[in-house]
C-alpha cells in the first residue's frame, strides 16, 4: 500500500490486488496509471489488502471507485461495473483470494455499520491466470487500458 488514505478526499480510487499473481495485479496497475492521469482532487490508493480493511480505506471519501480482479466465469478481460451505493453487489464476483472477507462482504459490513461512502462503484476485471510470477494476460492487459479510461470518465462525472 502506498498510503493509508487517512486524509479526507471527495473522490478516492482504490486499486486492489496482488502484484505477483498474474491477472490479480490488474487493480493495482490500473490505480498506478490513474495516479498519473487524475488531478490532485482525486486520491489514489494501491492496496494488497482487502476485506475489512477496505472499510478503513474508504473512510472520509464521498465517492469511492474500487478496481479489482473479478471472477464470474466469463472470459478474461471482461469489465464489470457494479454500483454498490444502494444495494449489495453480490458475492460471486470478486474472489476471496487471500483476503478474509471479500470486497462485497466488506461493503455490506460498512453499510450495516453506517460508514459506507455515499457512492461506491466497483470495477471488476475478469481475471484469467493468477499463478505466481506471471505477467498480465493479453486480454486483461487490454482491459487495463479500457478500465483506466472508464474510471477517468467516472471521475469526471463525479466531479460534475
Amino acid at each position: 500500500m502506498k498510503d493509508d488514505g487517512s486524509s479526507s478526499s471527495s473522490i478516492r480510487i482504490i486499486g486492489l490486488g496482488n502484484e505477483l499473481r498474474g491477472d490479480d495485479a490488474v487493480g493495482l496497475l490500473a490505480a498506478r496509471r490513474l495516479r498519473q492521469a487524475v488531478g490532485i482532487s482525486v486520491e489514489v490508493i494501491e492496496t494488497e489488502m482487502a476485506g475489512v480493511d477496505l472499510i478503513e480505506l474508504m473512510k472520509g471519501a464521498r465517492v469511492v471507485i474500487l478496481i479489482d480482479a473479478a471472477r464470474s466465469g466469463q472470459n478474461p478481460g471482461i469489465i464489470h461495473r457494479l454500483d454498490a451505493s444502494d444495494s449489495p453487489i453480490g458475492v460471486q464476483m470478486c474472489p476471496h483470494s487471500s483476503h478474509a472477507l471479500g470486497i462485497s462482504d466488506a461493503l455490506e459490513l460498512a453499510r450495516t455499520m453506517g460508514v459506507l461512502p455515499a457512492r461506491v462503484i466497483v470495477y471488476g476485471i475478469e481475471a484469467g491466470d493468477t499463478e505466481a510470477g506471471q505477467v498480465l494476460s493479453v486480454s486483461v492487459a487490454k482491459a487495463l487500458d479500457e478500465v483506466v479510461g472508464l474510471v477517468l470518465q467516472e471521475c469526471e462525472g463525479a466531479h460534475a
Binding site: 500500500m1 496482488n18 489488502m49 476485506g51 475489512v52 480493511d53 476471496h96 483470494s97 478474509a100 462482504d105
Partner: protein, 436 residues
C-alpha cells in the same frame, strides 16, 4: 442386517465461508459410519517455491510477503531467519525486539479478524459478521478497532500494513524513532483493555462438548512466549531444532488434493494458537493468567472450538508484549546487521498466527536461491482437521444436509485454515450412502 437399497446422498455447499481463501471438503457417509473425509486445499506456497528459485536473496522478503494477505510478516520472518542462518548472522537487541513487535502486530490483526469477523458469528448464531453487526454494532466496532491497532504496528514498522516492505535480511531498511513508537501507546493501552474484554466475552460462549487428545506442536523458548525463535516442541515429548524439522515432520501427497499433508511419526498433530497456548502456558503474562483464572478457564484446552479463547488470550499477550517492547526501545545505530554472503542451507520456524511456518533455502555463493521449501501451518493441520471432522461427523448425521454442511464449516473454522496459502474456491460436499 436389514437390506436397504444402496443410496447416495450428496450435500454441497458452494464455499466454506469465512475461511481465508477457498478450498473444498468432501465427506462420504455410509449408513451411520463416516467413511471418508477429504479436505482439498491448493497451495500457492508451492508455486512460490518455484518462483523463488533463481532470485537473489534480497528479493525474498518482498516475494514471500505476497503469499498471504493476512500473514505476510510470518512469511518474511521465517525467510529472513532461515537466510540469516546461512550467512551466520544473529540479530539481537533492538532489531530483534522490533521484529517481535512487528510480529505481535500481525498476531493482533489476524486474531482480531478471526475472533470477531469470522468465528464469533458461529457462537452467537449469525451467518456472518454483517448480520452480527446489525445486533452487536458495539462489539463489531471493538473488533475492528482492535484489528486496526495491530495494523498500526505493522504500518509503522513494515511501511505498510499488508505486505510490509521494510523487513530485510539482517534487520530493517529503516527503524523507527522512539517517539514514533510512543505515538502508538495510547491506542495500544485501549486495545489491551479491549483484549481483556474479548477474553471475557468469548469465555462466556457456549461450546460443544468435544475434548480431544491432541499432540500439540509449537515453538518453545526458554525466556519468552515463542514468536520468532525457539525449539520445535511437541506435547508428546519431542524437542528439536528447526534444522531437524524435515527429519521428523514428513510431508506426503494425498490423491484428492495438491496440498501436501504433514505428519509427525505418522500421526496428525496440531499447530496454532491452541497448541501454542498449551505448550507455553507458563510464559503468559500475569494479567493474561489472571483473566483466565477469573473465567475459570483451565489449561490445557483440549476442545478445538476453544481456539477462539486461545486466539483472544494471544491478542492480550501480544498487546502487553508490544507495550513492553516499546517501553524499552531505543533506536539502534544500524537498522540492519551487515551481511557477508556465503553458500549454504538454512532452515527456520517461526510462529505465524496460525502456527509453525517452516522455511528452508539453499543459497549459492552469489546469494542466489537454488532451492526453497515452505511448509505452512495449514498444511500441517490438514490431517488433524480431517480426523476431527471424522470424530465430529457422527453427531451431525441426523441433521439436514444443509445444517450438517454448516456445522462442518464451523468445525473447519476453528483451525482458522489459511486456504489462500492455498487458493480459490472451497466447495463442501457430503456424500451419504446407505448400507447395501
Amino acid at each position: 442386517m436389514p437390506e436397504e437399497t444402496a443410496q447416495t446422498r450428496t450435500i454441497a455447499v458452494d464455499m466454506v465461508a469465512r475461511v481465508e481463501g477457498e478450498g473444498a471438503l468432501r465427506v462420504t457417509v455410509k449408513g451411520e459410519t463416516v467413511q471418508e473425509v477429504e479436505l482439498r486445499i491448493f497451495e500457492p506456497p508451492r508455486f512460490f517455491e518455484a518462483f523463488l528459485r533463481g532470485r537473489h536473496y534480497e528479493e525474498v522478503p518482498d516475494i514471500v510477503a505476497r503469499i498471504c494477505g493476512i500473514c505476510p510478516v510470518a512469511y518474511q520472518m521465517s525467510a529472513v531467519h532461515a537466510l540469516e542462518q546461512i550467512f551466520g548472522l544473529r540479530v539481537e537487541g533492538a532489531i530483534r525486539d522490533l521484529r517481535r513487535l512487528l510480529y505481535c502486530g500481525e498476531w493482533i490483526e489476524s486474531h482480531a479478524l478471526h475472533v470477531y469477523m469470522l468465528q464469533a458469528p458461529d457462537f452467537l448464531g449469525y451467518d456472518s459478521a454483517i448480520s452480527m453487526a446489525k445486533d452487536h454494532a458495539a462489539v463489531v466496532t471493538r473488533g475492528l478497532r482492535l484489528k486496526k491497532a495491530g495494523n498500526a504496528i505493522m504500518t509503522l514498522l513494515g511501511g505498510r500494513s499488508v505486505h510490509p516492505v521494510s523487513v530485510k535480511v539482517g534487520g530493517f531498511s529503516r527503524v523507527p524513532l522512539r517517539g514514533e513508537l510512543e505515538g502508538l501507546k495510547e491506542e495500544l493501552l485501549w486495545a489491551r483493555d479491549a483484549a481483556v474484554e474479548t477474553v471475557r466475552w468469548v469465555a462466556d460462549f457456549e461450546y460443544p462438548d468435544f475434548a480431544l487428545n491432541y499432540n500439540y506442536v509449537a515453538l518453545r523458548h526458554p525466556d519468552e512466549y515463542p514468536v520468532n525463535e525457539g525449539w520445535v516442541a511437541a506435547s508428546s515429548g519431542l524437542q528439536i531444532s528447526a534444522s531437524e524439522f524435515e527429519r521428523h515432520f514428513i510431508e506426503h501427497q494425498v490423491a484428492y488434493s495438491n496440498a501436501l499433508h504433514c505428519t509427525l511419526q505418522g500421526s496428525p498433530y496440531l499447530v496454532g494458537p491452541l497448541a501454542r497456548l498449551n505448550v507455553n502456558q507458563e510464559d503468559l503474562t500475569p494479567l493474561a493468567k489472571q483473566v483466565l483464572t477469573d473465567r475459570r478457564i483451565e489449561l490445557p484446552l483440549r476442545n478445538p472450538f476453544h481456539g477462539i479463547i486461545a486466539r483472544s488470550v494471544e491478542i492480550l499477550y501480544a498487546l502487553e508484549e508490544s507495550l513492553r517492547l516499546m517501553e524499552r526501545y531505543e533506536a539502534p545505530p544500524l537498522s540492519a546487521v551487515p551481511i557477508t554472503v556465503r553458500s549454504g542451507t538454512g532452515m527456520a520456524c517461526t510462529e505465524a498466527p496460525r502456527g509453525i511456518l517452516y522455511h528452508r533455502y539453499v543459497v549459492d555463493g552469489d546469494g542466489v536461491i537454488r532451492e526453497a521449501k515452505i511448509i505452512p501451518p495449514t498444511s500441517q493441520n490438514q490431517s488433524r482437521i480431517e480426523q476431527d471432522l471424522r470424530l465430529f461427523m457422527p453427531r451431525l448425521l441426523r441433521l439436514s444436509d444443509k445444517e450438517a454442511a454448516l456445522a462442518c464449516e464451523r468445525v473447519i473454522r476453528c483451525y482458522d485454515p489459511c486456504i489462500s496459502c492455498a487458493t480459490h474456491f472451497l466447495n463442501l460436499e457430503i456424500r451419504r450412502e446407505s448400507i447395501a
